[in-house]
């Protein structure tokens, strides 16, 4: 008894300490987390932290200097490429290690090792669509060129030098919250990051959905009507009237047999397409200073830490400023002493599906012959469970993504292989490397010729006054209609044909109209000699082009306001019609009065924007539910197409006028509720939120007070929006302005974590602290400096 009484406290203490020391489910170990020495408190960065440092590395060849401006933008000056990218890697890791690690693990289908079984489906899909396979192919190309290999190797050693310097207490906060540790960086991670971008931008195609429609619901004519290859009134990326060189290849013949396969399914996967981007450039004839101005704002998921990180990189042969991607060497969007460039997603379809005639576990039929699958075993580590091994079958087309062991959307069991440009061996990093160093148009075109996937609309301006725009990527010479639907993959007749030489990609150089722009609209009109289709959007392009068309003596301020323009062409064109139908029914109330007075701008405080959007969304859904109702989560035609059909061809849609009235009544009920809850203003309804990558609410910023919507130039949606706004005036010393929704530090405990969000939400810009070649920064601009020395052996 006495012994028990003596041991009891010890047991109690041991149990409590044990319990506090181990993670419970996905929750972190409380004791470890709350420990003021090594827990989260170690990540509470002092607000007045002195970032000045002198560091030594045995990997460096020469001294490197870094200075940080007051926004913590690092400016690196190195003596050679290797040291430059070493330092970039070190700095990326210093500020963004967890994000780089997580995003590239996710790209490679390795989330289960962190989160356990619940991420297994995600990981399997990543592997089955060939993310790792594609990354390995790209890595081969990147490492084959000594320039990109040096960049990758230097970058890797920089990241690893930082990781090696860390003790557990120094790990970024999220490692402590999620209970894992940083892993040594390898070059494949950079390749995976580029695959992640390719997947984000070209991964979601409509082929499978359209095949469902064609199989069960719509005729091919209806599909062409609802989802046209080229929309009426499109103002294409490469302006109408641009003379295209004749094609060097003829279109392949359309196969005699079926060109698509019937897919039985009950459900489709709903994915709201939210990604878009804008870019435009004005020649000196349209600007006040007579110098070109280039603008770009890529729209992506709004996350913290931000996808972007600002930097200036200087070494012999290169002096460049702009947005970098933590995880990859170089500046992705930016400008140097002579040129500026940017891009938007091109959206030409470069991903197709083939039905496979599977014979048995190891074989399929192709051209009448029994053909063996190339098997690739994917080993997926699962937290707290044994490894999962998934065999992925590779065919002549590509990997079989869906089959009976991994069903596709809607319970799809037909074995489908995916043919995707992102699987090709290509060296996009070379494009970044060369763009950073490009001094003229020829160097620019050489640089972008390396950029094969994800295809982008590359915009260009230089100091000499030239402007250009290229719909750049690697494309296939397709027969008309090839790859619109899931194709039979049983013989060679449906195989992808020859690759179109990239020099034949649609482009415009110094056009008569003195401006160029792209906003994910169709790339070229039908005078372009090769057939293509894609997932194009027209609304933002219509607005940008109508504004630029009449713009003269433009200033950077005019560019700021266009990037923040909230005017909706959709609302302007359709609202009068909606109101006329309502008036004919004798309805009148305060909401309708708001709409009548509306200027069609989705401004933050606008109540009319709320009225329109709630009503339009209900009407749009009602129209397509009636047409495509057999599919619970159908992919609907574009809003702009719906608008066109309503105005010009409404019989094709059914009883539109009745739906206008009934959806108005429904909308009015919702609007009443919003009004009662004091949520009638547009920004409250939209609730733009920048979400932490681990979806932690306190690390996210929500309820941002701003206007805009997906159909306006300022494409500020609930969780998507302008991820980097840049305006560059190509004066003798280029002047850049920019802002992104985040901050340089990825640490939620740093004052540099979300620094730029207020300014971004207000549509304001920072003057970018680019220092031209050979110049030194003014002393007042330099907040901190790092001196990096090679370690003396």
């Amino acid at each position: 008894m006495r012994i028990l009484r003596a041991i009891l406290p010890l047991m109690l203490t041991a149990i409590i300490v044990y319990w506090l020391n181990r993670p419970v489910g996905s929750n972190p170990a409380i004791g470890r987390l709350l420990d003021p020495v090594s827990g989260f408190w170690a990540n509470a960065e002092p607000v007045y932290k002195d970032f000045n440092a002198e560091l030594s590395f045995d990997g460096l060849g020469e001294d490197v200097q870094v200075w940080f401006d007051e926004r913590m933008v690092p400016h690196i000056t190195a003596g050679n490429d290797y040291d430059l990218y070493f330092t970039q890697g070190y700095i990326h890791a210093y500020f963004r290690l967890w994000q780089m690690d997580l995003q590239t693990r996710a790209a490679g289908g390795r989330v289960s090792e962190l989160l356990g079984e619940r991420a297994l489906k995600f990981d399997r899909e990543q592997r089955r669509k060939g993310m790792v396979y594609g990354a390995e192919n790209s890595l081969r190309a990147m490492e084959a060129d000594p320039r990109t290999k040096t960049a990758l190797d230097g970058y890797r050693e920089g990241v690893n030098s930082y990781i090696a310097s860390l003790e557990e207490k120094d790990y970024p906060l999220e490692y402590k919250l999620m209970g894992f540790a940083p892993e040594k960086w390898e070059n494949i991670r950079t390749a995976l990051l580029l695959m992640y971008m390719a997947d984000d931008l070209t991964g979601k195609v409509q082929d499978i959905n359209h095949t469902y429609y064609l199989s069960q619901l719509l005729t091919a004519e209806e599909i062409d009507l609802f989802f046209p290859d080229k929309m009426e009134g499109s103002t294409p990326v490469i302006p109408a009237g641009t003379k295209f060189a004749p094609a060097t290849m003829t279109a392949p013949p359309v196969p005699q047999d079926d060109t698509w396969v019937k897919l039985p399914a009950i459900d489709t996967q709903h994915k709201e397409t939210g990604k878009g981007s804008n870019n435009w450039v004005l020649s000196g004839n349209r600007t006040r200073n007579g110098k070109p101005i280039l603008c770009n704002d890529p729209h992506l998921s709004l996350n913290l830490p931000s996808l972007w990180f600002e930097m200036q990189l200087t070494a012999p042969g290169v002096n460049v400023y702009g947005a970098t991607l933590p995880g990859a060497p170089g500046v992705v969007i930016g400008f140097n002493d002579n040129i500026s460039w940017g891009f938007t997603n091109n959206y030409r379809d470069v991903k197709d599906f083939y039905a496979i005639d599977v014979l048995d576990k190891g074989h399929y039929r192709f051209n009448g012959k029994t053909t063996a699958f190339d098997k690739r075993i994917e080993v997926i580590k699962v937290k707290g469970k044994p490894d999962v091994r998934d065999t992925v079958n590779y065919t002549v087309h590509g990997p079989v993504i869906y089959d009976s062991s991994f069903v596709g959307p809607g319970g799809l069991k037909v074995p489908l292989a995916v043919k995707w440009m992102a699987h090709m061996e290509s060296n996009e990093l070379m494009c970044v490397y060369l763009l950073n160093r490009a001094g003229n148009y020829e160097a620019f075109t050489e640089a972008i010729s390396y950029f094969l996937c994800p295809a982008q609309n590359f915009i260009y301006a230089d100091k000499k006054g030239n402007i250009a725009l290229w719909g750049q990527g690697q494309y296939v010479n397709k027969w008309k209609g090839q790859g619109k639907y899931v194709m039979p993959g049983y013989d060679s007749s449906t195989l992808w044909g020859a690759l179109i030489p990239v020099s034949e990609n649609p482009h415009a150089y110094n056009p008569e109209q003195d401006y160029l722009s792209s906003a994910n609209q169709n790339v070229a009109d039908s005078s372009y000699p090769y057939w293509f289709n894609g997932d194009f959007h027209e609304l933002r392009a219509w607005r940008i082009n109508e504004v630029l068309d009449t713009m003269h003596h433009a200033t950077v301020e005019d560019m700021f306001s266009l990037q923040n323009d909230e005017h909706s062409v959709l609302a302007r064109k359709i609202t009068p019609y909606l109101l006329s139908v309502i008036a004919a029914n004798g309805l009148q109330d305060e909401y309708l009065n708001e709409l009548k007075k509306w200027n069609y701008n989705y401004s933050a405080e606008s109540k009319a924007a709320t009225v329109f959007q709630v009503w339009w969304q209900m009407l749009y859904t009602a129209i397509w539910k009636q047409k495509l109702g057999a599919y619970p989560n159908a992919i609907y035609p574009l809003h702009e197409r719906t608008m066109q059909l309503m105005l010009n061809d409404k019989d094709k849609l059914g009883n539109v006028d009745e739906l206008i009235v009934s959806s108005y009544h429904k909308a009015a009920d919702s609007l009443d509720k919003l009004k009662q809850n004091d949520r009638a203003e547009w920004y409250k309804v939209k609730n733009t939120t920048i979400t932490h990558l681990a979806k932690l609410k306190p690390m996210s910023i929500s309820g941002i007070d701003n206007g805009g919507w997906g159909n306006t130039v300022n494409a500020m949606k609930g969780d998507h929006g302008p991820s980097w706004r840049m305006v560059v005036e190509m004066k003798d010393a280029p002047e850049g302005y920019g802002v992104y929704p985040g901050g340089q530090s990825g640490n939620p405990g740093s004052k540099y974590y979300a620094t730029f969000i207020d300014k971004w939400a207000k549509g304001e810009y920072y003057r970018l602290s680019f220092v031209t070649k050979g110049k030194k920064p003014v002393d007042s601009a330099v907040k901190y400096t790092w001196q990096l020395n090679p370690e003396k052996q």
Binding site: L12, T13, L20, N21, R32, D35, P36, V37, P748
Partner: protein, 118 residues
């Protein structure tokens, strides 16, 4: 006076060892101090509780003030607590573990001493 000295020594040792070893040195040190100085259970608990509580209080306040509560505000929200309450709970947790360590130490030396006498 003796308690004050013990408290200071306990806190100091706990702080030093926590730099190198795991956080639960805040239980081990009060335990060892209680054994070495043969503190009575009540005193041993008090010593652990106060020394570790004070240590965590100092460390946390120093970090929190320098950080202007940027991070603690966010972590408090993760726990669904207000800032002050969260900080209090955080400190009490350390204090409690320290106290329990001390109490265990005292019980142990007493048990061995009694066993020896018997």
């Amino acid at each position: 006076m003796r308690l004050l000295i013990t408290i200071i020594i306990t806190a100091l040792l706990a702080w030093l060892t926590s730099q190198v070893f795991a956080w639960w040195m805040v239980a081990v040190i009060p335990f060892l101090i209680a054994v070495v100085w043969q503190l009575r259970p009540g005193w041993a608990f008090l010593n652990g509780f106060i020394s570790i509580g004070l240590l965590w209080l100092c460390l946390i306040l120093r970090a929190d003030i320098a950080n202007e509560q940027i991070l603690s505000g966010r972590i408090a929200q993760l726990f669904g607590l207000g800032h002050t309450l969260f900080i209090t709970v955080n400190i009490l947790l350390g204090a409690l573990v320290g106290g329990l360590g001390g109490w265990s130490g005292a019980s142990m030396w007493k048990m061995f001493k009694k066993n020896k006498q018997a």
